[in-house]
């Protein structure tokens, strides 16, 4: 009989567990939920941690699922089962706004929380260098213009592209297609640096511009930016690209290349004079403002100079503050919970 008794016990526990979980479903939520981009994650988590430490509200849960995945969850509906905020390394797309509206998420607050710069970097033992977007496109693209025709990328060395560039083999570590960093790089470098004639011959379509070469000069290094930093440290002629915060954290190992003659600096990224800078966003659901405790306060954190300003703690982890005008706009939006117009 021992076996049967044991079995009964287990079934009882099981039933208790199910009952327990059913009870909790009906409960309201008192903890904020943030989802979205892995680029915004390092910043929203720092804010969440400080927010929780103050003791008035629970520490928000911050997920890292990527910009697209974040919008999918964010736009799934209104109510305690759905996240309150989502981080994004690009502005919300039209289709995503439509998805939101279809599911009843009509009032969205858009907050520019700061800027991120993409850094094209090499080990400190490597050569100082300066690239234009066109040169970078020529180094990475699968097909390029060569002698007036579209051909498979023939460039083996940087000096093949331009005499002024170093006489070493092209070797670049890139992020995989699922990464937001890759999206940003494709938009800022591959599409912008794409040959005009090349686009013309492709019927005005820029899709071919963002196809990466597959002959070993460009290596997909995985989602992990820390790993890319480690790899370029160990071989002095290998380049890689990642967010500005990785440069800040690894200054002893890597140095940035200039883009169009400009070194990535805080000021350059802030004013967008450094060509590879992009704004980062936090999107919020206004419908949750009075429902989930701490909503307004958490949003407010992103407008404080002590958080996002030049003296703020997010600056220390690599978030480049907004320019003055945007800063004021953000403060306005937070104060009035202004929804975005579309």
């Amino acid at each position: 009989m021992k076996g049967i008794n044991k079995m009964k016990k287990i079934i009882l526990i099981l039933a208790a567990l199910v009952a327990f979980s059913v009870v909790t479903i009906a409960q309201a939520r008192d903890q904020l939920k943030v989802t979205g981009s892995s680029t915004v994650y390092p910043y929203s988590t720092v804010v969440a941690e400080r927010f929780g430490k103050e003791g008035k509200f629970k520490t928000p849960v911050v997920e890292s699922v990527g910009t697209g995945g974040g919008f999918k969850a964010f736009c799934a509906g209104v109510g305690v089962d759905h996240p309150d905020f989502t981080g994004a390394s690009r502005a919300i797309k039209k289709e995503e706004i439509e998805l939101c509206q279809k599911n009843g998420v009509t009032e969205i607050i858009e907050l520019a929380i700061g800027n991120d710069g993409l850094v094209f970097a090499v080990s400190v033992d490597g050569k100082d260098s300066n690239f234009t977007k066109e040169q970078l496109w020529k180094a990475i693209a699968h097909d390029v213009m060569y002698g007036g025709k579209i051909t498979k990328n023939p460039y083996k060395k940087w000096s093949d592209i331009d005499k002024s560039l170093p006489d070493v083999n092209i070797e670049i570590l890139v992020a995989p297609p699922t990464s937001g960093t890759r999206d940003a790089w494709d938009a800022l470098v591959m599409e912008a640096g794409c040959d005009k004639d090349f686009i013309g011959l492709n019927g005005g379509n820029k899709k071919a511009c963002v196809k990466y070469r597959e002959d070993g000069a460009v290596i997909e290094a995985g989602e992990n930016d820390t790993l890319i930093v480690q790899k370029i440290t160990s071989s002095p002629n290998t380049y890689g690209y990642f967010g500005y915060s990785y440069l800040i954290a690894n200054k002893d190992k890597i140095k940035p290349a200039q883009i169009d003659g400009i070194t990535p600096t805080v000021e350059g990224i802030q004013s967008y004079t450094y060509p590879l800078s992009r704004p980062l966003f936090l999107y919020a659901k206004k419908a949750h403002a009075d429902v989930i405790p701490g909503f307004k306060e958490f949003l407010g954190e992103f407008a404080l100079p002590g958080t996002v300003g030049v003296t703020g703690y997010l600056f220390k982890v690599g978030l480049v503050p907004n320019a003055k005008e945007t800063e004021e706009k953000v403060r306005d939006i937070v104060a009035n919970l202004t929804i975005m117009q579309n």
């Binding site: 903890q31 989802t35 892995s38 988590t45 720092v46 800040i248």
Partner: protein, 423 residues
């Protein structure tokens, strides 16, 4: 065949045998050396995370500056600010600090230092108005410097700490005020964005709770399914289809179960996101076939003479199975379950979709508290830019490996101890 031909043939056979042995030894050596390299890599970069660097600082618990007295209640102490006495003590380290460098001096300790002081005072209330040495956690950059993970002889602008901070650090080190102690907080703290504070407490608890939910669900269901299929079910088309499907399910990529969990548990049943309850449910789905298959194998291995003997003595079918067959099949079943669970322990893919790849700052206690699990923690930290997380990542892998090794050796122990050999 002449004797010479025979000899040549024999030599050929010996050569073939030697070749085969060589290939075998070669592949084992290769596999072991890969494992060795992996373990060496992880241990050499991860062991330092089990220690942390602290500074001994003379603190004056001045009641005026704290705004408290000996009768102040615990609640009020918790609400009071210990920052002022901390900053005062830090600035005393170098009385000639220029105004602009003061912030650098204050930055040498962790942001948690004022809370550390508060916790210290709550335990030592008799220290009010006294000067006493308290050990406080250093900032992660200096911690990494002390552990030798940051170079010091490079230009200031490429370092994470200034010349001035380095000078103060060296002075204190020369006076033996910099100490290294075992990093208990690594096991008790939740995740944090400050590497010196980050711990695996939340993900360890999350893993335990998730496994518990997974075990409670998959073990009884798996065993009952296996017993029914093996002992009671009629052999026909339907049971055959079920059998094929069970075997198929065991090979389905785990992310598919994550999608299923998202679709059913979150979107249909509205169970809370990011919780061990949902994580356990999803992993239970994944583990079920991995329990059913070894359990059926164990039941099959019980010789028919046991069943026949019981039936001959007048036991019913249920009695035979429950009293005689199942107890004998238990060792195999249990070790199968443990191995299934240890696979579940290492999963991250299905958990992304149900929101467990998340920053959790509080240690969870119930299956409905948001939490992460150990492999997720490894993933999240390996993505972080700060240098301090490199050692934490490896240290978490070490803990995970120990966890797995313990579970697997427990499975082997169970099998060796209770398994019966039928001869």
């Amino acid at each position: 065949m002449t004797s010479k031909q025979k000899e040549i043939f024999l030599k050929k056979r010996y050569r073939a045998e030697n070749r085969f042995k060589f290939f075998g030894i070669f592949s084992i050596t290769l596999a072991v050396s890969f494992l060795g390299i992996l373990l060496f890599n992880i241990f050499s970069s991860g062991l330092s995370a089990f220690f942390k660097t602290k500074i001994l600082l003379k603190i004056n618990f001045d009641e005026k500056k704290l705004g408290i007295n000996i009768n102040t209640s615990e609640k009020e102490i918790k609400a009071s600010n210990f920052n002022e006495i901390l900053q005062e003590a830090l600035l005393n380290l170098d009385l000639l600090t220029p105004e602009l460098k003061k912030i650098e001096l204050i930055d040498i300790v962790s942001v948690d230092a004022t809370y550390e002081l508060k916790r210290f005072y709550l335990k030592h209330k008799d220290q009010l108005n006294k000067m006493i040495e308290v050990s406080l956690t250093l900032s992660d950059d200096l911690d990494q410097l002390h552990k030798g993970n940051f170079p010091r002889d490079i230009p200031e602008d490429r370092r994470r700490f200034s010349d001035f901070q380095l000078k103060v650090f060296d002075e204190q080190n020369a006076q033996n005020k910099i100490i290294t102690e075992f990093n208990f907080s690594f096991f008790t703290n939740a995740d944090s964005r400050d590497p010196e504070l980050a711990g695996i407490g939340s993900s360890l608890m999350g893993s335990l709770l998730t496994l518990l939910v997974c075990l409670i669900l998959s073990f009884p269901i798996g065993i009952l399914a296996a017993i029914y299929l093996e002992e009671f079910a009629p052999k026909n088309k339907i049971t055959e289809i079920i059998e094929i499907n069970v075997n198929n399910l065991a090979a389905v990529p785990s992310i598919v179960f994550g999608l299923l969990g998202l679709g059913i548990f979150l979107n249909y049943f509205y169970l809370p996101r990011s919780t061990p309850l949902v994580g356990g449910l999803v992993l239970a789905l994944m583990t079920l076939p991995r329990i059913i298959i070894p359990c059926r194998a164990a039941l099959k291995a019980v010789p028919p003479s046991i069943r026949e003997g019981a039936l001959a003595l007048g036991a019913s079918k249920v009695q035979t199975v429950m009293h005689n067959v199942v107890p004998l099949a238990m060792p195999g079943t249990l070790s199968g379950t443990i191995i299934g669970l240890s696979q579940a322990l290492g999963e991250t893919a299905p958990l992304i979709l149900i929101g467990m790849v998340a920053f959790i700052n509080v240690v969870p206690f119930y299956p409905i508290d948001p939490s992460a699990v150990l492999p997720v923690q490894v993933y999240l930290w390996s993505e972080s830019a700060e240098r301090g997380f490199v050692e934490k990542t490896s240290a978490t892998i070490i803990i995970l490996i120990f966890f797995l090794a313990f579970m697997n050796s427990f499975a082997i122990y169970l099998r060796n101890k209770f398994e019966r050999k039928w001869s």
